[in-house]
Amino acid sequence: MSVWDVFNGKTRFLEDNMNVDKFVYTLGHGYEKFFNGLKEGKIIASKCSECGVTYLPPRIYCEECLSEITEFVEIKQNGVVLGYTIQNVDKDGRHLKEKVIWALIGFNGVRGGIFHKLVGVEPEEIYVGMPVKPVFREERKGSINDIQYFTKTV
C-alpha cells in the first residue's frame, strides 16, 4: 500500500491511494425510464404537467417549478447538431489515427439533449443545425452505449 522513498538518506514522501473499490450508482426513477427506453430502441423524456417543459434525460421533478413529474414520453429520434468538437488526441495525449467527432444533439421541443459520437460524417461537412439520428446496437443492455453513435439523416 505505501512506499517510503529514501532520498539522499532523508525520508521525503509517502505514497498512498484512496482505496475505495467502486461505487454502485442507482439509476433512480428518472434515469431508469431513460435507460430501459434505450433498451427498447426508444428515447424517453419526461414532461412537467404544470409548466409543460419536456426534459431529456427525464427527471421526476421540474427544475422550473419543483413539481413532481409523472408523465414520461417517447420523443422523435430525429435531432440536430447543436454543437460539436473533433478529438485529435486521447486522454493520455496520444494522437488518434482516426479523429472522433463528438456532438451535442438537440431534439425539437425538448429541454436538454444527448451528447454522443457522430459517425459517417466528414469533419468538413458537419455544421450546426445538421439533421442527425441515432444508430442503436443490435444487442442492448440499458446503457448510453446502446446508442452506437449518431449519423446524418439521409
Partner: protein, 393 residues
C-alpha cells in the same frame, strides 16, 4: 439588530420542513432524495419555487455517493436552478451548519426567503463508507497506522468513562431511549425496543464501542424554509424563530484535545446562548436534539452544551429526565441512533424536529411539557466542530 456578540439585520423564521425516509440503501438518486425533501418543505410552508430567492445546500464527503463537486450536481433538485446557490460542508456538522448558513443569508438582509436542503447518500461506496472515513485523517501521521474512524470515538468514550467514573450500563440507556423514541418516527431506519443487556451483549467493535452504541449508515434528505420577519407574518401564524446560532472548531490535531469534555461545543453553545439571551441553558432550554451518532456522544454533548454538569448527563438519563415526558427531553425524534444517520440530512432532521416540537406538530413524538425554546446541534469535520441552532416560538 445586535445581540451582544453578533450583528445582523433581520430576524429569521423557520416556516416549513420536509424529510424523506432514512434507509440503508435508497433506490432514489441523491438528486431525487433532495428534491423530495425540498418539495415537502415548500409545500408545508405553502410556498412555490418562485417564492424562493436563494438556496443553500449541504452534504458531507463527496466520496460517499461518488460524485465529486456534489454541490453543483444537486442544484436543480434542491431548487437552485438559476438562483443564487451555495453548498456548505463541515463534515458531520453540515446539517445544522446548512441551517446556520441559511440563517445568515436572511439575517444579513441579502435574501428574504431561502430554501435549505441537506442530503446524504452513503450507500454507493464499496466496500463500505468506513473506507471513505479512513481518508479524512492526516495522510502521513495517522493513515499509515490504518486508523479507523471508530478509534476516535472509542478513545473519547473510554476517557469520558474513566474521568467521571461512568458505567457502560448508563451509556447504553441512551441507545435504548433513542431507538424506542424512533418507533414513533415515520422516517426511522433502526427504531427498536431493546434493553440495556442487548447493548452490552452486542459485538464489541473497538472497545468500549459496541455494535448497538452506534448509529447506522444511511441514505436520506431533509429541508427547511427560512424567511425574514416581514414574510413570516405574511405566510404563517406559527413561525419558529431562529434566536441563536453558534459554531466553533477545536484543533484538527485530534491527539491534542480534551477527550472527556467537548470544548468545541462549549464555545459554539456559548455563542448561541449569548445571542439568544440565555443565561441558564439547563433551565431555559425546553427540548434539545443533540448529535448522537454514538450513545455516549449524547451525554458528552449535553455536558458541552451546559445542559448537564460535567459527568452529570448519565445521571439525568438514568433518572428519566431526558425522556419525552421528562423535564429536559433529549432527542425526542429518536436521533441518529434511532432514525438513522445520513450525515448532513441527519443534522438538518434535528433542526426540523425542533421546528415540529415547538409548533406542537410532532404527533406521537410530541414532548409532554409545553416547549418554548429548543436547540439542535451537530458535530463534525475531523470530530472537532460544534454547530448549534436555538429556536423559539
Amino acid at each position: 439588530m445586535a445581540r451582544m456578540n453578533i450583528n445582523f439585520k433581520n430576524r429569521v423564521a423557520v416556516i416549513g420542513a420536509g424529510l424523506t425516509l432514512f434507509r440503508r440503501r435508497m433506490y432514489e438518486t441523491s438528486r431525487e432524495l433532495a428534491w423530495e425533501a425540498a418539495k415537502q418543505a415548500l409545500d408545508s410552508a405553502g410556498l412555490t419555487l418562485n417564492d424562493i430567492d436563494a438556496v443553500v445546500f449541504g452534504s458531507a464527503p463527496d466520496a460517499f455517493d461518488g460524485i465529486h463537486m456534489q454541490g453543483e450536481h444537486m442544484t436543480d433538485a434542491a431548487g437552485g436552478y438559476m438562483k443564487p446557490y451555495t453548498r456548505v460542508y463541515v463534515g458531520g456538522g453540515t446539517g445544522v451548519f446548512t441551517a446556520i448558513a441559511g440563517w445568515w443569508h436572511v439575517a444579513s438582509g441579502l435574501f428574504d426567503r431561502v430554501l435549505v436542503v441537506a442530503e446524504e447518500k452513503m450507500s454507493p461506496v464499496r466496500p463500505h463508507p468506513q473506507f471513505v472515513f479512513h481518508h479524512i485523517f492526516d495522510p502521513v501521521m495517522d493513515k499509515p497506522l490504518g486508523v479507523n474512524l471508530i478509534w476516535i470515538f472509542a478513545l473519547e468514550m473510554a476517557r469520558y468513562m474513566y474521568k467521571y467514573n461512568i458505567k457502560k450500563e448508563d451509556i447504553a440507556l441512551v441507545s435504548v431511549k433513542n431507538k424506542r423514541n424512533a418507533l414513533d418516527h415515520p422516517a426511522a431506519q433502526v427504531a427498536a425496543e431493546i434493553t440495556v443487556d442487548d447493548v452490552l451483549n452486542s459485538e464489541t467493535l473497538v472497545w468500549p464501542v459496541q455494535r448497538l452504541d452506534i448509529s447506522p449508515v444511511s441514505d436520506g434528505a431533509a429541508a427547511i424554509v427560512l424567511c425574514n420577519e416581514e414574510y413570516a407574518k405574511q405566510y404563517t401564524d406559527t413561525p419558529v424563530w431562529i434566536e441563536g446560532v453558534g459554531w466553533s472548531l477545536d484543533t484538527t490535531y485530534w491527539t491534542n484535545r480534551d477527550l472527556a469534555f467537548p470544548k468545541y461545543l462549549y464555545y459554539a453553545g456559548k455563542m448561541a446562548y449569548k445571542m439568544a439571551g440565555i443565561d441558564n441553558p439547563r433551565k431555559e432550554i425546553d427540548v434539545a436534539e443533540v448529535y448522537d451518532p454514538f450513545d455516549y456522544k449524547e451525554l458528552h454533548h449535553m455536558e458541552g452544551l451546559q445542559l448537564a454538569r460535567k459527568g452529570e448527563a448519565p445521571i439525568l438519563t438514568r433518572e428519566g429526565v431526558t425522556q419525552r415526558d421528562g423535564d429536559l427531553p433529549i432527542n425526542p425524534s429518536g436521533g441518529l441512533l434511532g432514525v438513522g444517520n445520513p450525515i448532513a440530512a441527519a443534522g438538518l432532521m434535528k433542526v426540523a424536529e425542533i421546528f415540529w416540537q415547538l409548533r406542537k406538530e410532532a404527533g406521537k413524538r410530541q414532548v409532554a411539557k409545553d416547549p418554548v425554546t429548543g436547540l439542535a446541534q451537530a458535530w463534525g469535520d475531523l470530530m472537532q466542530i460544534g454547530t448549534v441552532v436555538i429556536m423559539r416560538v
